[in-house]
């Protein structure tokens, strides 16, 4: 199966003299959830910014949907929806207007938009907030609006950065259920988070970044084999890979 995301030898960051990322190579295939994990400053957000096309690689290529941003910007952008770590909303637009704006931007016809918007507003218990300005929402509600916008677009790929920040437990469950549903329908999900137990329950593969390098990648079983820790949890594996000398959780 053709990978949806194809990153080859990506080196990037803010200054070519001090790159943050060093030769990253990985893929994300349709129908899988990939967890992007690492300590603060490991390069997760920089990787995501490169995928979004907000930063120029110093070396290497990033392909989404088979094209680079330069080859076909519109196809590239249409292939994904993004949920940022900090909600980025237009203060003067209501929740419903954000959904309509996304539907228009992603060329979703009006009847599909209405149907999807109603479902999402119900699922995330935001129906009574549909006319509220983004500026007047709590942080968790703003995050819900970001998630609803991404799900409304129903793209082949979701790039999600720390989606659980500020979400209540019910919203977290709704999000994870919907992501599973999207996965079953063939979408790919690249999700960065520090909540390793949740990632372990939902992700098919993991990309472990450390100091801008891909320290390990693969399924949970692959990581266990690499670490020589059969049956270990993702959290224990994470500590083994990141700080083997401290071995904080024992063997």
């Amino acid at each position: 199966m053709e990978p949806l995301v194809e990153v080859k030898e990506l080196s990037g960051g803010y200054s070519p003299r001090r790159p943050v990322l060093h030769g990253l190579t990985f893929t994300v295939a349709p129908g899988e959830i990939v967890g992007l994990i690492g300590l603060n400053g490991a390069g997760k957000s920089t990787t995501i910014r490169h995928l979004l096309g907000l930063m120029e690689p110093f070396e290497g290529t990033v392909r989404i949907g088979g094209v680079t941003l330069e080859e076909d910007a519109e196809r590239y952008r249409r292939s994904f929806a993004y949920v940022p770590e900090t909600p980025l909303l237009f203060d003067e637009l209501t929740v419903q207007e954000h959904l309509r704006l996304t539907a228009m931007a992603y060329d979703i016809d009006e009847s599909t938009y209405v149907e999807r918007a109603e479902r999402l507003l119900g699922e995330f218990r935001m129906a009574d907030k549909r006319s509220a300005f983004a500026a007047h929402l709590s942080k968790g509600m703003k995050q819900k609006v970001m998630i609803m916008n991404a799900l409304l677009a129903a793209p082949p790929l979701y790039i999600i950065d720390e989606p659980f920040l500020g979400l209540d437990p019910l919203a977290m469950r709704s999000l994870l259920e919907r992501l599973n549903e999207e996965k079953r329908s063939g979408s790919a999900i690249l999700m960065s988070s520090h909540i390793l137990s949740t990632l372990e329950a939902y992700c098919d593969r993991y990309l472990l970044l450390h100091d801008g390098r891909l320290l390990a990648s693969g399924t949970l079983e692959t990581l266990r084999e690499m670490a020589g820790m059969p049956g270990a949890s993702l959290e224990r594996l994470f500590f083994r890979f990141i700080a083997p000398e401290r071995n904080a959780y024992g063997s």
Partner: protein
């Protein structure tokens, strides 16, 4: 420990002054001060002429009372407090008196200076009213009233309930108006007695509602509002990053966005329409149109310059409305979604120009009609027609200029 809080406020005030200095320079270069000085001189000359021939029965005391009450009741406070202070200064709430003392002193001094300046202008008119007390003798009373109002305003800021705060402010305004009326029309001793009783009543009423020990949130909001006001003013002369401002719903204008066809090409059109309507860009445009229409109608009806003065005023306001509507192009310039939506950038620029032109047209029509109709009713048809035609002609001209400007900005 308290001294460093006082120094902190001083440092913040200094940083603020430093930050706005370049914008003040831009404003000075724009020619605005010259226009303002000319307008002030024109107003002063009109006032002098008026003083020489005050119509009999002119309500001198009522005008003075309204003017002075407005200045006395208004009690702005520059605290330079920011939301982050909830973390860093809140633990030192018990020491905040020192911090606030400097803010109150500066507020009182600037408020008193303004009040006295206006009193100085009003004094010649007051002198013709035959009042029992001289203008100079009332100065100390006005200064005490100002201090009492500032103290009252601080107590209102502390009130936990918005309704109580508003009622107290209303009562303070009414009592100040009554006290100023008494000072302007009654013998000084009696008026002072009344003012003291009014102040005591206000103090007693203010004592009743539940109050915060220190109104952090209200001060944060007030400071943010003040910063936004300065920012809006300076943005007319220079490009300046904006702080988030609270959107206004404005359903009487926002319904238009609902009629924008659901289509990919209209994405930015919808976004910019709602941005213009709900942010201060639209608010300012509405105020400008209302003031311009009134000014155009009054000038047009006065028949000055054979009716052409009204047309001139309407053109000036239509021009200003076009400039104001064009500022919508600055919105969302730095929004990350601009780079993420699968939409061409040229579409964003086109949408901004279309929205600005539509808003300009919506302002130009009432401006042209107000000046035109008032001149037409006076039988001056040429300036009437010219007022409307000129306002409308400015719309495509401004849109063309805006498009060129945006293309230039994009190329840079």
């Amino acid at each position: 420990m308290e001294a460093d809080l006082e120094a902190l406020r001083r440092k913040r005030a200094e940083a603020w002054r430093k930050a706005v200095t370049p914008y003040v320079r831009d404003m000075a270069r724009s020619g605005f001060p010259s226009v303002a000085v000319l307008a002030a001189l024109a107003a002063l000359s009109g006032y002098t002429a008026f003083l020489e021939n005050v119509p009999p029965g002119f309500p001198i005391a009522a005008v003075g009372a309204a003017l002075m009450t407005l200045l006395l009741v208004r009690s702005p406070l520059r605290t330079h407090l920011r939301p982050a202070d909830a973390v860093f200064l809140m633990p030192r709430e018990h020491e905040m008196e020192r911090y606030m003392k400097a803010a109150r002193r500066s507020g009182y001094l600037s408020g008193s200076a303004l009040t006295l300046a206006v009193w100085l202008l009003y004094a010649p008119l007051y002198g013709q009213s035959g009042a029992p007390t001289g203008a100079a003798a009332l100065v100390p009373a006005l200064l005490v009233l100002k201090a009492a109002n500032d103290a009252g305003a601080w107590q209102e800021r502390r009130m936990a309930r918005e309704t109580a705060r508003r009622l107290c402010r209303l009562l303070r305004t009414a009592l100040t108006l009554a006290a100023v009326c008494a000072l302007l029309t009654k013998p000084l001793i009696a008026a002072l007695g009344f003012a003291a009783a009014a102040a005591a009543l206000q103090a007693a009423v203010c004592w009743l509602p539940a109050r915060h020990r220190f109104p952090w949130q209200r001060l944060f909001d007030e400071e943010a509002r003040t910063r936004r006001r300065y920012e809006r003013f300076f943005r007319s002369f220079t490009d300046l990053p904006s702080e988030a401002e609270a959107p206004a719903r404005r359903p009487y204008a926002a319904w238009i966005a609902g009629y924008i066809r659901h289509s990919r090409v209209n994405t930015y059109l919808m976004l910019y329409t709602l941005t213009l309507v709900r942010t201060d860009i639209g608010g300012m445009l509405i105020r400008l149109t209302a003031v311009g229409a009134l000014a155009g109608a009054v000038t047009g009806a006065s028949g000055a310059l054979a009716g052409w003065a009204g047309a001139l005023v309407s053109w000036l306001f239509a021009l200003a409305a076009g400039v104001q509507a064009g500022t919508v192009r600055h919105a969302h310039r730095h929004a990350v979604w601009r780079h993420l939506y699968p939409l061409p950038e040229a579409g964003r620029r086109r949408a901004a120009v279309r929205v600005a032109a539509a808003a300009h047209f919506a302002g130009a029509v009432p401006l042209g009609l107000a000046a035109g109709l008032s001149a037409a009713l006076d039988g001056r048809y040429a300036p009437a027609l010219a007022a409307l035609a000129g306002c409308l002609a400015l719309v495509p001209a401004t849109a063309f200029r805006l498009r060129r400007k945006m293309e230039r900005e994009a190329a840079e």
